[in-house]
C-alpha cells in the first residue's frame, strides 16, 4: 500500500527507534527487520535510511559502533541509548493516543 507522504512525516524516526530498541542492528538488517515486523506495510527507500540514522545518532537517541575486525566485513551496528528509549516511550504514548483518537473519529464517521 502506498501511503500519503504527508501522513508518514515524522514517523520514520519512530520506526527506526522501535526496531533498534528490539535488537542492535546494522543498516541492511534494519531495513529487513522493519519490513518483516510491519509485515511489509512499511518499506524504506534503503539509501534514505542513512541520513535519518545519522540524524538520530547526532541527537543521541541511537549510538553506532563499528563491529568486525580483520578478515570480517566491518559493519556499523546501531543500538538505542537510554535517551532514545525515553524518546521512544514518549512517542509510543503519543501514537497510542493518536490511533485511539483517529479510530474513534473514523469509526464515528463510518457509522453515520
Amino acid at each position: 500500500m502506498r501511503f500519503d507522504r504527508e501522513l508518514l512525516k515524522g514517523t520514520t524516526e519512530t520506526f527506526i527507534l522501535a526496531t533498534v530498541a528490539e535488537m542492535p542492528c546494522h543498516g541492511y538488517q534494519l531495513v529487513k527487520q522493519l519490513k518483516l515486523k510491519s509485515e511489509g506495510i512499511f518499506q524504506l527507500g534503503e539509501g534514505t535510511l542513512y541520513p535519518i540514522l545519522y540524524k538520530l545518532e547526532a541527537k543521541g537517541w541511537i549510538a553506532g559502533k563499528w563491529d568486525g575486525g580483520t578478515g570480517q566485513r566491518r559493519r556499523r551496528v546501531y543500538r538505542i541509548t537510554p535517551l532514545g528509549r525515553r524518546q521512544l516511550a514518549a512517542r509510543s504514548e503519543q501514537w497510542s493516543e493518536l490511533v485511539r483518537g483517529m479510530a474513534l473519529l473514523l469509526g464515528a464517521s463510518t457509522n453515520e
Binding site: H26, G27, Y28, T48, Y50, P51, Y54, A58, R73, R76
Partner: protein, 265 residues
C-alpha cells in the same frame, strides 16, 4: 569486500558535494558499500546474475541525489549546532567580563560624572564590548571551523569561496564602522564618548584616536579622503578574501586521494 565500479560510482555520486568532512565520508562510504554489497548478495542468491543484481540493488537503494541532499541538509544542521555549541561556551565568560568592566567603570570613573551616571556608562560600555566580542567570536569560530574541514579539490569553487570570505571581511569592516557614530545608539556612543573624556585613566593619545574615530571617521573622512574611506577598505576586502580563499584551496585534498577513497576501478 568486492568493490564493483558501478557501486563505487554510485557511492561517489552520493558523497560528491554532500558537505560531510573527509573522515566522515570514508565511514559513510564504507557503510553504504556494505549495505549495497549485502543487497547484491541477496539478489544473487535469488538467482540473478551479478549485473542484474547490481542494477536491482541500486534501484532499491533509492535516488542518489535525494540521499545526497538529505546528507547535506543533515550535515548543515550539525555544523550550525557545532558552531553554536562552541559559541555558547564563550557567553558566560563574556557576560562575566562585561560585568567586571561595568563594575570597574562604575567604581573608578572619576568626577564630574555622578555615581548613577557612571553606572550607566559602565553598563553601556560593557554591552558594547559584549557585542564586539560576540561578533569577533562568531567570525573567528566560522573561520576556524571552515578551514578545519578539508574538502576534495574538485568541490572547491574559488568564486564561491572568494564571495564567502569577501562577505566575512566586508562584514568585519561594517562592524568596525559601526563603532563610529553610525551605530551611536546600538553601541552606546554616549557612554564611550563620555567615558573617554571624563576619565584620566585613558591615555590622551587614545582619547584623541577614539575621538577621531568616533566623530570623524565616517561622516567626514568620506568627503575628505576617499582613498582612506573607500579604496583602502575595498582593497583590503579584496586582498583578505583572496588570501583566505587561496588558503582554503590549499587545505583541500588532492583528487588522487579522493579517488583512492571512493572509486576503485
Amino acid at each position: 569486500m568486492n568493490k564493483h565500479p558501478k557501486i563505487e560510482h554510485s557511492i561517489a555520486t552520493i558523497l560528491t558535494n554532500c558537505g560531510l568532512p573527509m573522515d566522515r565520508r570514508t565511514e559513510v562510504a564504507d557503510e553504504l558499500r556494505d549495505h549495497l554489497s549485502q543487497l547484491v548478495d541477496a539478489k544473487c542468491a535469488e538467482g540473478m546474475d551479478e549485473d542484474q543484481a547490481i542494477q536491482t540493488a541500486l534501484a532499491e537503494f533509492g535516488s542518489l541525489a535525494a540521499i545526497r541532499r538529505q546528507l547535506r541538509k543533515q550535515q548543515s544542521v550539525l555544523d550550525r549546532r557545532h558552531v553554536m555549541a562552541d559559541l555558547r561556551r564563550y557567553v558566560w565568560p563574556l557576560v562575566a567580563g562585561c560585568g567586571i568592566i561595568a563594575l570597574l567603570v562604575a567604581i573608578f570613573a572619576p568626577a564630574p560624572a555622578s555615581v548613577s551616571l557612571r553606572c550607566l556608562f559602565g553598563a553601556i560600555i560593557s554591552v558594547g564590548v559584549c557585542g564586539i566580542m560576540i561578533t569577533y567570536g562568531v567570525s573567528a569560530e566560522l573561520l576556524v571551523y571552515r578551514l578545519q574541514r578539508p574538502r576534495p579539490r574538485s568541490e572547491f569553487h574559488f568564486q564561491k569561496s572568494f564571495c564567502f570570505w569577501g562577505a566575512v571581511v566586508f562584514g568585519f569592516f561594517i562592524f568596525m564602522a559601526s563603532m563610529s557614530p553610525l551605530a551611536i545608539i546600538v553601541c552606546g556612543f554616549f557612554g564611550q564618548y563620555a567615558f573617554l573624556h571624563s576619565s584620566p585613566y585613558v591615555a590622551p593619545q587614545l582619547q584623541a584616536e577614539a575621538h577621531w574615530f568616533l566623530l570623524r571617521c565616517l561622516p567626514t573622512a568620506m568627503m575628505d579622503n576617499p582613498l582612506r574611506s573607500f579604496l583602502l577598505p575595498l582593497l583590503t576586502v579584496l586582498a583578505g578574501a583572496t588570501a583566505i580563499a587561496l588558503y582554503e584551496r590549499s587545505r583541500c585534498v588532492d583528487e588522487d586521494e579522493v579517488a583512492d577513497t571512493f572509486i576503485t576501478e
